[in-house]
Amino acid sequence: MDAVLRALAIYVVILLLFRLTGKRSLLQATTFDFVLLLIVGEATQQALLGDDFSLTNAVTVIGTLIGLDRLADYLGFRFPRLDKLMESTSVILIDDGKPLKDRMDKAHVNEEDILEQARQNHGIERMDQVKFAVLERSGSISVIPTGQ
C-alpha cells in the first residue's frame, strides 16, 4: 500500500513541478540538463523506495508509475480540458512568415531557437524561408518552410 501511495505522490509532484516550470524546462537536453535530470532521479529515489530494498517493492513502484502514466494519458484523451491542463497547448510563433513577437517573448523563444530547428530539420538558412513555426506541447519547435 505505502509503495503505491508513494509512487502516486511523486508522480503528482513531478507532474506539477514540470508543468508549472514551463514547456521548455528540460527539452533542450544539453549535457547540463541531462545531469540535472539524473540528479532529480537520484533525489526522488529515496522518497520512492523508502527503506525497502526488495524486488517486489521496486516492481510495485514501477508498475504504479507506468499505470498512472497510462491512466493520465487515457483521462487526457477522454477529457480534452484535462489534457490541456496536464499537457498544455501548442503555440504558433511564426504565422505565415510573420514572427509573433509577444508570444515568442512569453515563451522565451527567440529567432535563434527557431532558426536552429529550421537548420537541423530543413536545412533552412534564413528567417524568410520559414512559413510557420509552432511551439509544440512537448516543448519542441516545428518549422514549416515556405513553398510547401
Binding site: 500500500m1 505505502d2 503505491v4 525497502d52 530494498f53 526488495s54 524486488l55 517486489t56 507506468i66 499505470g67
Partner: protein, 161 residues
C-alpha cells in the same frame, strides 16, 4: 505506404495491450489492499486470550524490506515479575531484528528459537513489545510465538523477494 501496415497484427497488439492494462490496474489495487505487504489484507492478529501472547503482524512482507510486530503478553504469562516471549527458529531465522522496545533484560538464542525476557513489575499490566525487523527470507515461513508456558500463537508469513 500501406505496405508498412499490418492491420491484423495491430488489432491483436491493441487487444493484448488492453488486457495488460487491466492486469496492471489489478496489480496496483492488490498492492493497495496489501497483498504485497502493508495494507488491510496483510495485517493480522494471532493468539489472544487462549494463548500466552497476542501478536499483531503483517502476513505478507518483503525480503530486505521492513516490518513490525506488536506482541502483547497476557497477564497469565507473567511469572515472578518476568515475561518471556519465545519466537520459534523458523521465524527467528527469517528476521533481522533491528530494534526491540522495551529492551529485553536477557536474550537467549537456541536451536529451538529465540527467547526474550522482559521485566514485568506489574502483573496486571504486562509488557507490550514492539519488535522492528528486516525480513530476511523468501517464501512461506510458519512458526509460533509463545508467552511463558502458555499455548503458542501460530504465525504464518509469506516473504516476497
Amino acid at each position: 505506404m500501406h505496405d508498412t501496415e499490418d492491420p491484423r497484427f495491430q488489432r491483436r497488439e491493441w487487444t493484448v495491450e488492453r488486457v495488460w492494462w487491466a492486469v496492471l490496474a489489478l496489480l496496483v489495487v492488490m498492492a493497495l489492499l496489501g497483498v504485497f505487504s502493508a495494507g488491510p489484507l496483510s495485517e493480522t492478529t494471532t493468539g489472544g486470550p487462549d494463548a500466552g501472547v497476542e501478536v499483531e503482524h503483517e502476513r505478507f512482507v518483503r525480503d530486505t524490506g521492513k516490518s513490525t510486530w506488536t506482541i502483547r503478553v497476557q497477564p497469565e504469562a507473567v511469572q515472578n515479575q518476568k515475561a518471556t516471549v519465545f519466537i520459534s527458529d523458523e521465524l527467528a531465522q527469517a528476521m533481522q531484528i533491528q530494534n526491540v522496545a522495551p529492551a529485553p533484560s536477557t536474550e537467549t538464542s537456541t536451536r529451538a528459537g529465540l527467547m526474550l525476557e522482559f521485566d514485568a513489575p506489574q502483573a496486571d499490566s504486562p509488557p507490550v513489545v514492539r519488535l522492528r525487523f528486516r525480513p530476511d527470507a523468501i517464501g512461506v515461513r510458519e512458526g509460533e510465538v509463545r508467552g511463558g508456558d502458555l499455548p503458542a500463537a501460530p504465525v504464518w508469513m509469506l516473504f516476497y523477494p
